[in-house]
């Protein structure tokens, strides 16, 4: 038997971390360099009006200026704090709600369409209502963020539970699991991929909703976030600053994906042997 076992299994080959880092980082960085170089070449050769098509150097200068007077750091820390806190609240609310919906069919039938509808509804649509309810305060921002993120998290979890193979539940029952043991040790871990996809989308919706809320709701007791920075650039007709801020928003999204979600997802897929053909 041992001989056959040896023949039928292959040792898992794991590439070293630095190799994986280079493979993952190099292509996007190269692309970025090429794009910026092309942009710079365009400004140098075509000489467009700098107020309509600022070059990379103008954008960098605008960002540097915002950094020097502290607006950039303030905006990033304010927005990140709100985004992360809002997302965590959404997880705390969405997870039990999703579990309840997944395990209790009548509630799912009743509430499911509404949750799916909310997921499609752009959460910016809530901004005017939120301003009327909560005024220009942080509550407005958080309300919009939660309305954006919670439906995605709930839907992800419900879909994850729905995709648990019935055979796994059957095995749990045969092994003598109680209802609670079945949920905690079999169904929930099996639903993890769907849940994680929901969390990822939930974060994306949080971040988008936050930016929208910060752009629209400006002033009052609302702090100064990245969206506010963007709005300020627009008021001053400072295109370099506007483009720079867009790049900052984009960069934060990419960094969170690379540092938080990608490693968690990769680890989970690898543990389950779901990496497929990707190295």
């Amino acid at each position: 038997m041992a001989g056959l076992d040896r023949l039928q299994t292959t040792a898992e080959r794991r590439t070293p971390w630095w190799r994986r880092a280079i493979d993952g980082v190099l292509p996007p960085v190269l692309l970025l360099v090429v794009l910026v170089a092309a942009w710079q070449a365009y400004t140098v050769i075509a000489q467009p009006r700098p107020d309509l098509a600022p070059g990379p150097l103008d954008v960098a200068a605008a960002l540097g200026e915002a950094w020097d007077d502290g607006r950039l750091q303030l905006a990033i820390s304010t927005s990140l704090e709100r985004g992360v806190l809002g997302f965590l609240i959404a997880v705390a609310v969405g997870t039990p709600l999703g579990l309840l919906l997944a395990e209790w069919a009548p509630l799912r039938r009743a509430l499911g369409p509404l949750i799916s509808g909310l997921q499609v509804l752009p959460s910016v649509a809530w901004v005017p209502a939120a301003i009327l309810w909560f005024g220009l305060s942080d509550a407005t921002v958080y309300f919009v963020v939660l309305m954006g993120a919670i439906p995605s998290i709930v839907n992800g979890l419900v879909a994850g539970v729905a995709q648990v193979p019935p055979q796994l539940r059957r095995v749990g029952t045969v092994l003598g699991a109680s209802r609670f043991e079945l949920a905690a040790s079999v169904v929930l871990p099996a639903a993890l991929p769907g849940y994680l996809a929901g969390l990822k989308q939930g974060w994306a919706f949080s971040w988008r909703s936050l930016m929208a809320a910060e752009i629209i709701a400006f002033g009052g007791s609302i702090g100064f976030g990245v969206g506010s920075l963007l709005q300020q650039g627009r008021d001053l007709a400072d295109l370099a600053s506007v483009l720079g801020t867009i790049l900052v928003i984009l960069a934060i999204g990419v960094v969170i994906e690379l540092l938080v979600f990608a490693p968690v997802e990769r680890g989970m897929l690898r543990r389950r042997g779901l990496t497929g053909g990707t190295p």
Binding site: A2, D5, T9, L168, L175, G176, V186, P189, A190, R272
Partner: protein
């Protein structure tokens, strides 16, 4: 046999809907403690349903089923939890329900059982790192972990290649002799039934009934290519074909 049977079925019938087809009809069967019984039949004859009834996963429409304690079950797919290592999968059976062992005891017992199926070296591997045959042996260890006297097996080797299956027959027979379990083994493979069972029960289709049975003198392990197995296979196949022809008419 004087001892009380490990499994006793009396007049068991199964019908999923009142106007639906009769899946099982008038099954009388008793399996002695420590016996290895093979339930043989064509696809769709209701042998898996019968096993589900004995396992208590479904209720019979008529008749009674008595099982000595509850039964452990092994399916055609290993159905291991893909996020747990082989050892943790076996430990699961030691943690759930009435088993409830403490963690160190679970760990030790799981390793012992994996050693029994010659998988001690693979204890920390996850299911996707194991071959199909190894996964089935982990499933066997997990079924044994439940420490129930009756083990029900629903075509557990059907998805494996012939070489692996042949070796697993030896493993299963050894484990059976070492642990003294009562085994009911469902299969549609005549040779497999003749190779493994002390008793082979032939089922007819629609309605599922036990139509014939063979007892095989247990004079130690026999090989699938041995004359005894071949002769018995020929005889059983004849009966099986007759049953199938009867359905065509």
């Amino acid at each position: 046999m004087t001892a009380a049977p490990a499994i006793r079925l009396t007049g068991v019938g199964k019908q999923y809907a009142a106007d639906g087809p009769v899946v099982l009809d008038g099954i009388d069967l008793s399996v002695a403690p420590g016996e290895f019984a093979c339930l043989l039949g064509a696809s769709g004859c209701g042998k898996s349903t019968l096993l589900s009834l004995i396992a208590g996963l479904e209720q019979p429409s008529t008749g009674t089923i008595e099982v000595d304690g509850r039964a452990a079950v092994m399916f055609q797919e290993a159905s291991l939890l893909p996020w747990l290592s082989a050892r943790r999968n076996v430990e699961l059976a030691l943690r759930f329900g009435d088993a409830g062992l403490a963690r160190p005891a679970r760990r030790a017992r799981a390793l012992e059982l994996l050693d029994l199926v010659h998988l001690a070296d693979a204890a920390d591997k996850r299911p996707h790192e194991l071959s199909g045959g190894m996964r089935q042996r982990v499933a066997l260890a997990r079924a044994l972990a439940q420490d129930r006297s009756v083990l029900l097996m629903d075509e557990p080797f059907a998805a494996l290649d012939a070489i692996t299956r042949d070796l697993l027959h030896e493993e299963l027979e050894r484990v059976w002799r070492e642990t003294g379990r009562t085994i009911v083994f469902v299969t549609h493979n005549v040779r497999e039934a003749a190779r493994l069972g002390q008793r082979v029960l032939l089922m007819s289709s629609r309605p599922g009934r036990i139509v014939n049975e063979w007892r095989i003198a247990d004079d130690g392990p026999r090989r699938i290519e041995s004359p005894t197995v071949s002769e018995l296979s020929v005889e059983i196949t004849e009966h099986l074909r007759r049953e199938i022809r009867r359905n065509a008419a």
